[in-house]
Symmetry: C2
Subunit: 206 residues, 2 copies
């Protein structure tokens, strides 16, 4: 059983998918703690309902580096082996990333490298997709490196963009796919099926 | 019947797809001329075999602007209404693009905006796709504007990247999709089914 820590900033439907994945036995892991950088994040409530320890850690008064160190401390205290960013709207410090090298998983609501990197988060991604006029978008689960959305890709899945799509309808379609591939990626990680060859993720599907 | 001019630099399998599309009656148009900026482009031979006028215009001795003007002249002389870039490895001048505004179609071997723009052409695209480790790539047909691969997208189609894929295998898979969506885009154009709303291409499928 892999000890999982989840970082969130918002509603946490991806967190809910993980909770369901653990409860159903799909994911051979245990969510030890959910940490939010926002007090009102509904994900904290979801964690509480699932009897998972949930903590709000206020970034106020901390430098960025220091805040990430506090997060690190809390995760290590609970023997967290895998960190999942489920809508966590903060870039992690280099030290944090090094400490959990290839053990931090992020979900991004586009087909990376399209519509990713600095400034592309939440609904801004879907707005950019609609403004550009691409015919396909999707979601990407990847390991986190020092860059913004630049780490090795674990899974991607494609979503068709229709003429009638709005930010809201696109968000919903992509979220469904996010839930699916995030749970799948964490499942594969917990079963030791993810290997790295350079920056390519090789999946052992046996 | 729309008068089509095709610009090429190489083997021209996309040109062949267009020739076949016209000959089968799928495309309600006529290829009036095929122009290459390389003397040894095999596409010139393909055109000859199909009894289409084919010309090599040597860029040597011309400035970029001037060369594009010569191309323009040759196309207009033949009443060309739609210009298709089928592996034409030259950026067109602003004047050329303005003259044929929203009447130039290009095919690119990736899911634009990923792996597109300056420096991404031919096999370099597939190499970059493999190096990055994305799980999906594809092809894009778009109208040409002043930028590199930045114009309004007409059609895209997705291709899965497998662990075993090489530049060569990816090239083949993507080429198949290129042929399909290029012919489809030209067909739609010739039937007057492509409309623009801002930079979004609206397809009238009736």
């Amino acid at each position: 059983m892999v000890n999982i820590g989840v970082l969130i900033s918002g509603g946490g439907t991806n967190l809910q998918a993980l909770i369901d994945g653990v409860n159903s036995g799909t994911i051979k892991g245990k969510i030890r703690v959910v940490i939010s950088n926002r007090k009102d994040a509904y994900g904290l409530e979801r964690a509480r309902k699932a009897n998972i320890e949930s903590i709000f850690i206020d970034p106020k008064g901390y430098s960025h580096e220091k805040y990430c160190n506090v997060l690190l401390e809390e995760l290590k205290k609970r023997d967290v082996e895998l960190v999942v960013l489920a809508g966590f709207l903060k870039i992690l410090s280099r030290e944090f990333v090094n400490e959990y090298k290839n053990r931090i998983i992020n979900i991004h609501p586009s087909l990376i490298p399209s519509f990713s990197g600095q400034g592309y988060y939440g609904e801004k991604v879907h707005q950019a997709v609609l403004d550009y006029g691409v015919k396909y978008t999707g979601a990407t689960v990847h390991f986190v490196d020092e860059g913004a959305d630049t780490g090795p890709i674990i899974l991607q899945e494609v979503v068709k963009v229709d003429n009638e799509d709005t930010v809201e309808s696109l968000r919903e379609k992509v979220l469904k796919v996010e839930h699916k591939i995030l749970v799948e990626a964490v499942r594969l990680y917990c079963e030791g099926r993810l290997g790295l060859k350079g920056r390519k993720v090789i999946i052992d599907r046996e």
